[in-house]
Every structure is written in structure tokens, then in C-alpha cells.
Symmetry: C3
Subunit: 357 residues, 3 copies
């Protein structure tokens, strides 16, 4: 990959670290510690794997003060190797991506739009009437910003996203391509055998520092609002139904679906392909294992797995039980027969006793 | 939310209800019964929750003739409170959404297109040759209507939808953003270890009053047609494979996948994350629970859950059995030992008897 | 469906078969053997179903040399009836689809773009700086091709696709609408309770003859590359995380999610709604059943099902065990009671014996 070359001295200055080794070594790329080759810089965060420092072919390693001393290759020691490395990567690759700059001539702007300073709108972007877009925000090509939507400053919205009317997106949010925010909630009322549409006039609120993956769908509330809390990160192809509220700093992995009016606390983690039924609550720090089906509210600090989901220690025993079940059934049949024989014998012995008496 | 203010008298006239209370009270917003505040109107459909009528902070409540009398706040009584409320919501919020009007100058129209009266095409809409679009239909920005597609009257297609060639969409259908209708079915033939593409030359037919969520994929038939029956409602991120036929007034919840050539009856309900294998039939009124995996045809009026799916009463017992399984395994080991001891004793006692005889 | 009419003689020449019957019969359509009517041609690949040849209303049938002789309607015999039929279908329907031709005036091209001969770009396509597009490639309307992306020759990308920067797509790849290739991997580092974004600077590589369904998401690598191997076919709404590597000629069905850094071999088949956890390996020819959750590496040539996934023969017994579990629990309680009575009796009989002695 073509990147900006840097010396170890420059990298060390960038991350504010302590360099052990030749400061003039030139770094040309970045890589994982196992895949790294000549000219690459890599990092090691977990001292458990410090044996990899010597086997790695990287030309330099960013690591912590805790990992081994006397390394045979250049090392930069920092507080948080992972973050320091992220900083190096961002710097080296800063010219490797091009985002729109300025308002493209093919962008369509409605009336009464409030555009902050330095807003960029890519080709074929559509911004409807009375929308507001904050400073430095970048909206990439083909994205639609609906009527009266409010997009904060420093937001990045990738190509071909749909932000429906009156959605509120706060500072520094990132939305990946193909996502749809503010589509109608799935609400119908049965009338004479047909499903009558219930108007969905609420909104979606995305708080600060949220990141939303590709092809994610977040439905607007019936009334009131669907809320994604500050700092929460949502992976690709996730479905968030109307009136869901997700707390701060939660993680929602790919293909997870959260049904209407469910309320999630802070620091909740939903692994991939999880389903959460409607109108329940998941407390702070709840963790839900992959493919789990959460059918009841979960108290805070609980780790649940399975479908239907149960606390991890219980589900673990159930899964272990499944593995033993075929053998159990076989052994049960044998035991039943054994007891049958014992009963027969007992009867006979009983009878013979009876006879004797 | 800025809405159109209405007096209770006006609202009562709109829904054709019976007003108990001051007709000149001004309503400024709508809300759920628990969230409602001063100036809001709300509704209560289920008499079971009628205690909420008094605790709600709403300024007025739409409810049925069956719920409690002598309410301390204004009440409008109607046949169907939910629908009446929907009507109020639609009316109050009618100016709160803006849809395209007329043909935008950046819409691209092919040759031989048949446009009905009053059709609206948003910015950057593409309509290919020989497509037909019915009266009053609204196609929002960035949506693609393929060659020879036929879109009925009063249809609403949101931004960034893809309708592939020859798809037929009937009256009053709603399609949400990001959805793809008429993509190729997933059909391959293995030839010498490689997967050879089988042409998919059928179409998709969407009947009247269907609503399709965001990021839904409905594949065209291999030949013949994939059909979504009249009045059926499809939630976000649903996959419908080639040659599937869904009957009237069915409900398909988010993340559900229906495999090729499956046939669903009328009034079928598939909850979220359900999987249906190919070439099976689900009869009328079948209900499938969330995350179920339907591997065999299901007779009409059956409620199935679990993966593999079984009738609800059976799966319920299986789920209860799982919960007891770890204890069962423990108790089984104990019982086995007990029987072993009994057998030993029996043998000894038998032996001693033998010795005696 | 309007198609190109052909005589059986023409069709026989097209597929290089052996015609039995009237060469001047005119074929007007194609269909499945059960649905076919007067004027249709159909095919039968599997001799097991050869009874259908006589009951079908088709005017002619393409089949193999192995199926029954003396058919009462015209038959064309070929090596591979399925493929031969596909050829006929493609030929008859070749004018039934219209793809963009040439560079549309509304396509936006950046600087330094390398366009091969005969490239077609539909309306509102955006190609960013320094991208490269190979000969005969067709990019349909609204699709975005990012900075420095490399698209091979004979590629077909449907409307409203997003190909992010530096993605590499090889010869003859097909990408369906709504898909997003090269979005950021889901990588965060927790710092003081917040999730800090880890830059994702790797790429996605799509090898020759891959087909990607609608609304599929394939994330770019953290560094290095996410790879979809030659000839692999991916169904709709699939999620492929960063640094995943899929081998050649694999099949990934709808709604399947593959987590970060998982490595799949050649000829792997993942059925629908499968989940694969991160950092594991699935060997060549592995088959994973629908809705399975693969939590550990799977050796080659293994068929696994269930969640957590186990070899098919084991999971089959577990599923059978579930069905028996409610009865087992009931019978266990009975057996326990029986043993209890036996023990009581044994004790009494033992005691009486003791008393006697």
C-alpha cells in the first residue's frame, strides 16, 4: 500500500513514546504483528503474546512499558499501544482516502437550509427544505437528507445513505453506506382482517460519537423518539425498531434486531444475530451472546446466552446437557430395563418369601 | 414537535366520536398514554389498562365506549380508539413531511415511458425505457425504476430504492429506502467444480396495499414470478428468495429469510429472524415464533416455534425440558448409582439365598 | 412474457443437442416443468422425476440421454440439460433487459481515471479520482466507485451500489443493488469507558467470477485485505467482517454473518442465517446448516449444524433427543419413584431378613 513514509523518530514524536532503537529507520507500512514484513511497523497490546515480538518480521513495534525489555528490534513504548498505533495508521494513510470538499454542483438543496461553515456535499446529494447541517460535516455522494433533519458538526455520512425527515444526528457521528435512518416503524392495526397503517410521526435521535455501520435500519418512533445513546457503535445490517432506546457506549454487532420499545442501558454489548423482543429492558453492562433470543428483561451486569436467553452459567450447563442427551436417553433405557428386572426379581423373591411365609 | 393545533371539538368531528368534556380545549401534540403531557391527546384501546386514564398527564384521551365512565379529564369515545387516534395523528402531522411534487429537473426518463397524471419524481430518479407509472405515484430521490417496470397508482417509493426491470408493483404500495426488488435469484448449477449462473428471467409482483420496509431484498423468479400478496406487510432487512409466494395480509418481521419457492398462505405471521427453507408450504394463519427455523411444511392455523420448528405446545415443553436438563443429568447419575447398589444388594441377597438353598 | 420466438430446430442448434420430434415447432416461452404450458420449452435434469415429462404441458423438453425414450412430445437430449436450458433462456430473453450503454451525461468522473474500452456508466454514477475500470464493464445508475478503486473487465454492477476507496474487483464479477463493499471494519478500542475507533486502512479484494447479492456488506480489512475467493457466490443481506478470507467456489446464503478474521476454505457452503465467530478456520468443503452458530474451527469435509454447531450426525441425535426430552423427564420421575419403592422394599425385606437372622 502506498503510504507516507516516516522515520521511527517521527513516529515516536507523533505518539509521544519512548523509542528504543535506531531513530532513522524508515517505516513504509503498517500491519498486524503476524503479517508484518520488512519496513512495516506493528504493535503489541497484550503482554501475554510478547513472544511474537521476536518472531515478527516487522521493522519496529509499538508496545507498552510492561512488555519484555531487551528486544532485538526497535521498540516504541507508550501507555496504550493500540491507540498509539491507530494514530500512526491514521497519519500514514491520511492521503489514502478522498472525501468530498465543498458543495458539488450536482447537489440539490431545498429552501431554508442552514449550512454550517465548511460543509461538504458530494455529487447528487439531496438536502430537503429546512434541514440544518453543522460545521465541517461531510455528506458523500447520493445521500439523502430529509426535510427538517438536523445534522450536527463534524459528522461523516458515506455515499448512498438515507436520512429521513426530522432525524437528529449529533456531533461526530459516522454513518456508513446503504443505511436508512428514520424509516417508518412497523406499526399496523388489524381492521376487518386487513392491516391498517398506524402513522409513525416520531423521530430518530442519534447522539454524539455514535458510529452506524452499512445497511443498518433505524426506524422513527410512532411518536416520541428512537434514541441511540452517545458513543454507541452499531455494526452492519442491524435493525432497530421504533421507540427503541439504547444507552451510552453500547455495542450492537451485525444482524442483531431490537424490537419496538425495548430499552437498553449503558455499556450493553449485543453480539451478532441477537434478537431482542419488544417492550423489555436490558440493564447497564448487560452482555448478550451471539444468536441469543432475549425474551425477558435482563437485570444489569448480567451475561445471557441461548435462545431463549438465560444467564450464561445456566445456558452453559444446558448446552453441555444437550451434548450428553443422546447418551442419557440410551442409558436411561438401559436403567429402566435394569429396574424392571430388579422389580421382577423383587417380586419373585417377594413372592417366594410370601410363599414361604 | 410543531404540529397543527386543534380543539377537542375539531378532533371529535374528525373521528366521529362522542366527546365528554370541554370542546374548546386546545390540543397541541400527540403521545403515548404514559409519555403524554399537558396539551397532548392520547388514546387507550385496551380497557385492561384503564387505570392509566387517570394517571396520564394528557389533556384528552380517545378511548372506547367500554372503558370507565366519569373520567376526570376530557374523553372522546369511538368504536376503534387506535384507528381514530391514527386519523388524528395523520391530520395533525400532515404538513410535517414533504414529499416530492412534480418531475424534478434532474430526474432521468428513458423512452416510451407511460406516466400517469400527477406523478412525482424526486431529484436524480432514474426511470428506464418503457416503464409505466400510475397516477399520483411518488418516487423519491435517487430511486431507480428499471426497464418495463410497471408501478401502479398511489404508490409511494422512498429515496434510494432499486426496482429492477419488469417488476410489477400494484396500487397503494409503499416501499421504504434501501430496498431492492427484482434482483436476480440465487441460482447456480455446478459444472466441473464451478458454480454456473442460471439466468433468472422471471419477475416480482407486489400486489395492492403491500408495505415493504427498509433494506428489504425480494429476488425475481427464475421464471414465472415471486409474489407478495395483497395487504401483506414486510419489515426491514427481510430476504425473500426467487419464486416465493406470500398470500394476502401476511406479516413478515425484520431479518426473516424465506428460501426459494416457499409458498405462504394468507394471514401468516413470521416473527423476527425466522428462517423458512425452500419448497415448503405454510398454510393460512400459520404463526412462526421469533428465530424459528421452519424445515417442513406447516398445516394451516398452526403456531410453531423453535429451530427446528415444532408446534408451540411441543416446543414449549422442550424449552422447559432444557431448563431441567442439567438437574436431570445429575439426578440420573445418582439414580444409576442407587440402582447399582440395589442390584449389588439384590445379588448378594440372591446369592445368600442361593447359598441357603 | 414477451420473448424472442424460436423453432425447436434453432434451439437444438443453439445447445448442440439431439432433437427427437418436429423441428418446426415454435417455442414462445420458458418455464419450469410443472408450470409450463402450450408453447413453452422446459427441462428435466434429474431422471428420477421423468414421470413429469408426460404430465408436463410444455411443447418441448430438454433432457439428458439417460431419461426415458419414446416420449410423446419433442425432446432435445444434451449432456447437461440444466445448462443447456440456461443457454436457451439467456438467448430468448436477451432483449428483455436493458443495461446502460456508454457514459451517461450525468455520470461524474474525477481526475486520473483509467477507463477501459466500451465501459458503460449509467445516470448519476460517481467515479472518484484515480479509479480504474476495465473493458466492457457496466456500472448502473447511482452507483459509487471510490478513490483508487480498481474494477476489472466484464464486471456488472447494478444500481445504487457503493464500492469504497481502493477496493479491488476482478473480472466478470457481478454485484447486485444496495450492496456496500469496503465499508470500515467494526474495530474499537476501549479507552476510559468510551469506544475509540481503530482506523481500518486495509482493502477488500473480490476475485474473478464472484457474484454478490443485494444489500450485502463486506468490510475492508483493518490492514491487509478482506478476500472473496474466485467463483464464490454470496446471497442477499450477508455480512462479511474485516479481514475475513473466503476460498474459491464457496456459497454463502442469505443473512449469514462471518465475523472478523475468520478464514474459509474452498467449496465451503454456508446455508442461510449462519453465524461464524471471529478468528476461526473452516476447512475445504465444509458445509454449515441453516441457522447454525459456528463457534470453533471446523476440519475440512465436515458437515455441521446447530447452535453451537456440531457435526451433523451428533446434532441430529441431539435434535432427536430434544423431541424425546419432555417424555424422558416424565419417565425419569416415574422410574425414580419406582426405585424409591424398590429401595424401601429392599430395606424392609433386608430388615426383616436381618430380624430373622
Amino acid at each position: 500500500m502506498a503510504v507516507k513514509n516516516l522515520t521511527l523518530e517521527e513516529i515516536n514524536k507523533l505518539v509521544g513514546g519512548k523509542l528504543e532503537g535506531n531513530p532513522s529507520v524508515v517505516i513504509k507500512g503498517v500491519s498486524g504483528i503476524k503479517e508484518a514484513g520488512e519496513g512495516d511497523i506493528t504493535f503489541l497490546a497484550n503482554p501475554r503474546y510478547e513472544a511474537l515480538i521476536e518472531t515478527s518480521k516487522a521493522s519496529a513495534i509499538i508496545t507498552s512499558k510492561q512488555t519484555k525489555k531487551d528486544v532485538s528490534k526497535p521498540v516504541i513504548r507508550v501507555e496504550n499501544p493500540s491507540l498509539a498505533f491507530a494514530k500512526v495508521v491514521s497519519f500514514m494513510f491520511q492521503d489514502e482516502r478522498k472525501l468530498p470538499e465543498g458543495i458539488h454542483t450536482t447537489a440539490i438543496l431545498g429552501k431554508g437550509i442552514d449550512l454550517g461553515k465548511n460543509v461538504s456535499l458530494g455529487p447528487h446529494v439531496v438536502v430537503e427544505d429546512n434541514a440544518k447541517i453543522g460545521e465541517n460535516t461531510i455528506i458523500c455522494s447520493g445521500t439523502f437528507i430529509g426535510y427538517k433533519a438536523v445534522i450536527g458538526p463534524d459528522v461523516l455520512i458515506y455515499p448512498n445513505v438515507t436520512i429521513r425527515e426530522k432525524t437528529k444526528i449529533s456531533n461526530r457521528v459516522i454513518v456508513h453506506s446503504g443505511s436508512v435512518i428514520g424509516s417508518d416503524g412497523f406499526g399496523f392495526e388489524e381492521v376487518a382482517g386487513a392491516h391498517q397503517k398506524i402513522p409513525q410521526v416520531g423521530i430518530v435521535v442519534i447522539e454524539e460519537d455514535v458510529e452506524i455501520g452499512a445497511c443498518v435500519t433505524i426506524d422513527r418512533a410512532r411518536f416520541g423518539k428512537t434514541v441511540i445513546g452517545r458513543g454507541t457503535k452499531i455494526d452492519n445490517l442491524v435493525q432497530i425498531a421504533h421507540n427503541v432506546v439504547i444507552g451510552e457506549n453500547s455495542i450492537v454487532c451485525a444482524h442483531t434486531g431490537i424490537s419496538g420499545s425495548a430499552v437498553l442501558g449503558k455499556n450493553v454489548i449485543l453480539a451478532g444475530q441477537v434478537g431482542v423482543v419488544g417492550h423489555i429492558e436490558l440493564g447497564d453492562n448487560v452482555i448478550v451472546g451471539a444468536q441469543a433470543g432475549v425474551t425477558k428483561s435482563v437485570p444489569k451486569n448480567t451475561f445471557v446466552v441461548g435462545s431463549p436467553a438465560k444467564p450464561h452459567n445456566i445456558s452453559k450447563k444446558i448446552f453441555a446437557g444437550w451434548a450428553k442427551l443422546p447418551e442419557l436417553i440410551k442409558e436411561f433405557a438401559e436403567l429402566k430395563e435394569k429396574v424392571e428386572r430388579l422389580t421382577q426379581k423383587g417380586l419373585k423373591s417377594g413372592k417366594s418369601k410370601d410363599n414361604k411365609e
